[in-house]
């Protein structure tokens, strides 16, 4: 899942992005409003995390421009402004969630995850595909009752396929959602990552739960018995 963090505090940029990356999110960072708006319009993000007091272009203006341009990416506002009128105004301008600084990172993460699920129309944090179950809150994957050890990026890849299960997810989409601007994915990085993921979640002698759709991409689907 790819997230845009628009925040002018260098330290918050650093540690929020670090924490999000730890759980497998690809995070792009913008330190001022104009750059943040440009990034949000140019890339496909699952969630935009937006501070309100930003240099060059304030957060509310960024939000208004995003909505007026037809961008419906979910936006989480993080700000020190805590009054009810300010919160209401934020929602009125198109925010999907509002979090007042300072906040617990766990809560911040939970809100980001909730917005990600809402992006794909999923309400439950646990999804099951046959004997494979994915808990997006605890970021654990179980197969036949046994927990599988996945690295954050592998989990993010599985999560993306799960959220769009039954649909073909192209390599480009995977690159856009799994890798942030810091990464320079090689041409076969998605195939390699998919290969590793398959090894971890598939069982020997049984067909893979992740299907390769030649020339199109990948699809997570429970094989027919």
């Amino acid at each position: 899942m790819r997230i845009l963090l628009i925040e002018d505090s260098k330290r918050l940029q650093t540690y929020l992005a670090k924490g999000l990356r730890q759980v497998g999110y690809a995070v792009d960072v913008a330190g001022e409003g104009e750059h943040g708006l440009w990034a949000a319009m140019e890339n496909e993000y699952d969630v935009v995390i937006l501070d309100l007091m930003l240099p060059k272009l304030d957060g509310i203006s960024v939000l208004q421009r995003l909505r007026s341009e037809g961008c419906d990416t979910h936006v989480l506002i993080i700000t020190a402004k805590d009054t009810v009128p300010e919160r209401v105004y934020g929602f009125e301008q198109g925010a999907d969630d509002y979090l007042v600084k300072p906040f617990a990172f766990e809560e911040f993460l939970a809100r980001v995850q909730a917005l990600v699920r809402r992006s794909y129309g999923i309400k439950h944090q646990r999804m099951s595909f046959g004997d494979l179950s994915i808990d997006m809150a605890s970021q654990t994957v179980m197969r036949q009752g046994e927990e599988l050890e996945l690295r954050p990026r592998e989990f993010a890849l599985l999560e993306l396929l799960a959220l769009r299960s039954g649909q073909v997810v192209s390599r480009t989409e995977i690159e856009q959602h799994i890798y942030d601007e810091r990464a320079e994915p090689m041409s076969n990085v998605v195939d390699s990552a998919m290969c590793i993921l398959r090894k971890k979640i598939d069982q020997s002698g049984r067909p893979s739960i992740i299907h390769t759709i030649r020339g199109a991409g990948y699809m997570l689907r429970v094989p027919q018995q």
């Binding site: 505090s9 918050l12 924490g19 240099p55 402004k81 906040f103 617990a104």
Partner: protein
């Protein structure tokens, strides 16, 4: 609750009612008086005419006294005149004194109360003489013998009594003897009463009509007159925090309300400015307090989540360096806020001593030399040898440091700064001028507000926006005045003047 509308309406109505009743009463009493006076005049004329037309002969009875009118008891029938009382009035047999539904009455008495003449209309009835006669005549109301309300006049008159020759009597003068008689003329006052009744009815009708019209007119006038006030009241009622920018209309407003509206607009302007300042202050303080806490919390929580992961010493050092920087920033915030609070509560200690302003400037500049060098700033100092001032050295140092810090921070790279210290007599004690093309005159009105910063995003966490607030607070403590100006669009000047005594001491070997 008091209502201006009700108060004005009731006052006007009561006032109008009192005026109407008073006028009506005066009119009624005047007409009453006039009618009665004319009636009385007629009565008196009649009485005097009666007196003038009366005389008495010298017929006397056997006892030598004139013959008296006989009473009903004596004669068994009514007689109008005694034999010796002679009145042309009665002889004329005037129709109004004859028995009829509209009859008038007269009756004549001698001094001893003996009735000597009466009108035929009286029949067997008697009139009466009022108890005490003041003057020769007196008017009084009475019930006429036929039951009607009447009014009468009693007149005491002298009757000419013709004497034949040698009569004896103390009133006798040259063959004439005077006798005092009393005549009472009475007539119905129905016409007067009827006229007064018509007048009263008319007055009551007109009064009622006027009262009704007055009620309608007063209510309409008061409502119309209070309309502008109602409009102002409605607008005032609608004002809340969200629409403090609204203003009361001053066009087409009555002159009585114009000062109120103008004053309210001034108050609203001040209130709006205060609210804006308050909101800005709250928002700025919230940002300055919440952001470092949010940073610290994110830093520590993310660090804790990485506890199981291998971590490089350099990365660990970053965590600690950031934590230290946040702590230092918050310490600076607390120190500044406490200093401002102490100044506001007059608890800031001021230790006066002789301090060299030039030395303070030079010492304070050392902290910014490196940054100025890195930004390639051109700094020009115009300093006298020494300027000794009786002041608090620490507070003045804080003032100078804040001003130099501001100049170095906000002067663009390669820009110019001028620092001037004078003898302070005709020129400011200290002036610092620097290039800055971002400030406007509007900004200068906020520059001394705590936490105000030109950059509304407050991105640069190394500054809090309280420097000028501290400068203003400390300057006030030291009896100095700080002023700011933009002599040119890209030049910002701050100067400090003082009323303190300045001593110029030549410094040897300087």
């Amino acid at each position: 609750m008091k209502s201006l509308r009700n108060q004005m309406t009731s006052t006007l109505l009561i006032g109008q009612f009192v005026v109407l009743v008073s006028c009506g009463s005066v009119l009624y009493l005047y007409v009453h008086h006039t009618l009665v006076m004319r009636f009385d005049d007629n009565l008196l004329v009649t009485a005097r005419t009666f007196a003038a037309m009366s005389e008495k002969g010298d017929e006397e009875d056997e006892d030598g006294f004139p013959e008296r009118a006989s009473t009903i008891a004596e004669t068994g029938e009514h007689v109008t005149d005694t034999g010796d009382f002679d009145s042309e009035f009665s002889e004329a047999k005037l129709a109004e004194f004859q028995p009829s539904p509209h009859a008038e009455y007269y009756q004549v008495w001698e001094e001893d109360g003996e009735v000597i003449s009466r009108s035929p209309s009286l029949g067997v009835a008697d009139l009466h003489i009022p108890g005490a006669l003041g003057g020769d005549h007196q008017f009084f109301d009475l019930i006429l013998p036929d039951g009607r309300r009447g009014r009468a006049v009693s007149l005491v008159f002298e009757l000419r009594v013709e004497t034949a020759g040698d009569g004896v009597g103390k009133n006798e003068v040259k063959g004439l003897r005077a006798e005092h008689l009393v005549v009472v003329i009475a007539r119905s006052r129905e016409n007067v009463d009827r006229d007064l009744e018509i007048l009263l009815t008319g007055l009551l009708f007109v009064g009622a009509l006027l009262v009704t019209c007055t009620v309608i007119l007063v209510r309409w006038t008061v409502s119309r007159g209070l309309q502008p006030l109602d409009a102002v009241a409605q607008q005032a009622k609608a004002i809340d925090v969200r629409n403090l920018s609204d203003r009361f209309p001053t066009q087409s407003l009555p002159v009585e309300l114009l000062p109120i509206s103008q004053r309210l607009n001034e108050l609203l302007q001040r209130l709006e400015s205060s609210f804006r300042r308050e909101n800005r202050f709250t928002s700025d303080v919230a940002h300055e307090l919440r952001t470092p806490i949010a940073e610290l919390r994110a830093l520590t929580e993310v660090g804790l989540r990485s506890m199981g992961d291998p971590i490089e010493p350099e990365e660990l050092a970053f965590y600690f360096q950031d934590a230290l920087a946040i702590a230092t920033q918050m310490e600076s915030l607390c120190t500044t806020l406490l200093a401002l609070a102490r100044c506001e509560s007059d608890q800031q200690r001021v230790d006066y001593s002789q301090s060299d302003v030039v030395a303070i400037v030079k010492e304070a500049w050392r902290a910014f030399e490196k940054e100025a060098y890195n930004k390639e700033l051109i700094v020009n100092f115009v300093l006298p040898v020494v300027t000794i001032l009786e002041t608090d050295r620490a507070l003045l140092t804080a003032i100078v440091s804040n001003l130099l810090s501001n100049a170095v921070t906000y002067t663009p790279a390669g820009g110019r700064i001028a620092v001037t210290v004078t003898d302070g007599e005709k020129q400011p004690l200290l002036s610092i001028s620097n290039q800055n093309d971002e400030l406007t005159n509007e900004d200068l009105t906020h520059i001394f507000e705590p936490f105000w910063r030109k950059d509304r995003s407050r991105t640069d966490s190394s500054h809090l926006g309280v420097g000028f607030a501290v400068v203003a607070a400390f300057s006030e403590l030291l009896g100095m005045k700080v002023s700011v100006e933009l002599p040119q669009p890209d030049q910002f000047n701050v100067s400090i003047t003082t009323r303190a005594v300045i001593t110029h001491l030549p410094r040897p070997n300087s």
